[in-house]
Amino acid sequence: MSTKKSPLNRLRRSLGLDTQNEWPSVARERLLAYGLLAVYVLVIWFPIYYIFITSIKPSSEVLSLPITFLPQNPTAQNYVDIFTNRPFDNYTINSMIVATTTTLICITLGTVTGYSFSRYDFLGNKSLLLSIVGARMIPPIALIVPFFQIMSNPPLIGGLTGSLYDTRLALILTYTFFNLPFAVWIMKNYFDGIPESLDEQAQIDGCSRWEAFVKIILPMAKPGIAATAILAFIFSWNEFVFALVLTSSEQAQTLPIAVSLFVADDFVDWAHLAAGGMIAALPGILFGLFFQQYIVSGLTQGAVKE
């Protein structure tokens, strides 16, 4: 029995290879899962790989046949070009500010509102939720013109700010509007899965609704918040059409616009587009990694599992 506690066993156990304490089928499945995931990741990363090698090929190699899957003359020139010729730093900052602010607003409002919808029966609860989500069902493309109008001549704050056209604020307001309903809805569904008895215990422990929410329920909702945050972030990060009509210069234009500028009417500059694309992708990937931590920590703490 003492051998069970040997360092070797500990190691095996921590690697998930401990077939002694665990079902052989589970271990087999784990191997299979590794295999499947590896294949899946390879497949979905192939396009990213291809765009990456395109970005480090000189233009002449990009357009020569037969095509190469390993760059023959790797170069960083494309990257140098896009930073010297194009304000990619501005675009990146714009994207980060717009997406982060939108995300923060959405998860803040989305969580509190979602929680109320999950826990309390207030007047017209269900139909209210339905209309919030319904607001989001209007196809945004159909709202382009009125949105432009609102942003260039904001009805409530217009006197203070003047036109919001070509500002990051316009994008933030718009994106928040588009994301908030989903944030509310996702969080409502998530809170539905957390037993109400924990709210009750928190009240018994002396928590007001606010405190119970902030101190007990919120920490358990981390995975849901992370999912919502990612959703809001990605939406704002990727949005193209509204960014197109609500902004016009590098003071507010975001990365999707920047990338699409490599496409001329009759010409696509693939090499530089690929480099620009990689740059546009990078902060997003980093952000994903960052929030990924939250999902993982939410999971490993077994947060919500009873």
């Binding site: 037993p195 008895s197 924990l198 009750e200 215990q201 928190a202 009240q203 018994i204 422990d205 002396g206 928590c207 007001s208 609704r209 405190e211 119970a212 101190k215 007990i216 920490p219 358990m220 703490q301 077994g302 947060a303 919500v304 599992k305 009873e306």
Partner: protein, 376 residues
């Protein structure tokens, strides 16, 4: 510390009336135990007091105030939930600390109290685990610890020891007793354990069907049930009921014709039972008040046959068949050497006899017995 008063309290769920107009006075510093069959509304009553459910009707008073509208967190109570409701993402320690932190307790005091309580409950070593890594009994002790670590106005405990083994349970019961003696916090306690109810309670309230059947000191209620429900509910094995027709013997004594056997009613009950002459009346006698009198001595002795012998350690329970065909249980000394099929004589302890109206279930002799006890 506070006095709790429930008046005509009602709680209806969609189509169930869980609490159906109960009035109960829970004196300051008292230890009140709620007992009753499964589903009778005990938990709901606690939840109403806690402020987790809103009363459909009636009034709840804690101390001076009507608290119907106060939310749970405003009521300064601590509660042990039947299903524990531990915070799954917090360690045992943090589960216990949380309530104190909420009440702005000093860090030093928190640490000290948590440590003390953990020792009391024998869970010191578990303090850094999460609930999912605990056994059922350990979880229950954490739930208990989370309540008693605090110093609230009222403790509400819903079967807090149900998942503990007998030994630990006795210890915990003793600790709760001690705790209550020290702090004298008003406590409402739900249990289905007779012994817990008897030993802990200042007063016991027996519930059935959302209503309170009887309230009083535990031994008093045990010995003087107001009706057959209470009589049958308390005690294990429960009271034997034998139905018969009340008749007057030639000697002017009352007797119960059990259909094949005659039971003599003690004289002191003659007045109380007089109106029921000729009617059906139920005799109640607890198993432990039945003695095996194999030597065959005087009155109220009933011959019976042993059907089942069930040794339970500290006692042995016999299932017997009376000559009338009725079945009856007796609890006897574990040394008693009887076997299945043995013919025995049963003697009913005459001080422990109870008589009931079989249709309403009401005790016919309650008042007489109370009077008697008062005069002694």
């Amino acid at each position: 510390m506070a006095h709790v008063e429930l008046t005509d309290l009602v709680k209806e769920f969609d189509d169930v009336t869980a609490v159906d107009g109960i009035s109960l006075d829970i004196p300051d510093e008292s230890f009140t135990v709620l007992v009753g069959p499964s589903g009778c509304g005990k938990t709901t009553t606690l939840r109403l007091i806690a402020g987790l459910e809103r009363a459909t009707d009636g009034e709840i008073r804690i101390g001076e105030d009507i608290v119907n509208d106060a939310r749970a967190y405003e009521r300064d109570i601590a509660m042990v939930f039947q299903n524990y409701a531990l915070y799954p993402h917090k360690t045992v320690r943090d589960n216990m600390r949380f309530g104190l932190e909420q009440h702005d307790t000093d860090e030093g005091i928190i640490t000290e109290r948590v440590q003390e309580t953990a020792e009391l409950l024998q869970i010191e070593e578990l303090l850094d685990r999460r609930p999912s890594e605990l056994s059922g009994g350990q979880q229950q002790r954490v739930a208990l610890g989370r309540a008693i670590v605090r110093d609230p106005a009222v403790f509400l405990m819903d079967e807090p020891l149900s998942n503990l083994d007998a030994k630990l349970r006795v210890q915990m019961r003793a600790e709760l007793n001690k705790l209550h003696e020290e702090l004298s916090t008003t406590t409402v306690y739900v249990t289905h354990d007779q012994v817990e109810a008897m030993t802990l309670a200042d007063q016991i309230a027996v519930m059935d069907n959302g209503q309170i059947q009887q309230v009083g000191e535990p031994t008093h209620v045990y010995s003087n049930p107001r009706n057959m429900f209470v009589a049958g509910f308390l005690g294990s094995p429960s009271m034997n009921f034998l139905e018969g027709t009340l008749e007057e013997s030639d000697a002017g004594k009352f007797e119960l014709d059990l259909g094949g056997a005659i039971h003599n009613v003690p004289d002191e009950f003659t007045d109380a039972l007089e109106p029921y002459l000729g009617d059906r009346v139920t005799l109640g006698i607890r198993p432990e008040n039945i003695a095996l009198n194999q030597d065959g001595v005087p009155a109220n002795v009933h011959p019976a046959t042993v059907e089942v012998v069930e040794p339970q350690g500290e006692k042995t329970v016999l299932e017997l068949e009376l000559a009338t065909g009725q079945s009856i249980k007796a609890a006897v000394d574990p040394d008693t050497t009887v076997e299945m099929g043995d013919a025995v004589n049963l003697r009913f302890d005459r001080d422990s006899l109870q008589y009931f109206d079989p249709t309403t279930g009401k005790s016919l002799t309650y008042d007489t017995k109370i009077e008697q006890q008062a005069t002694i």
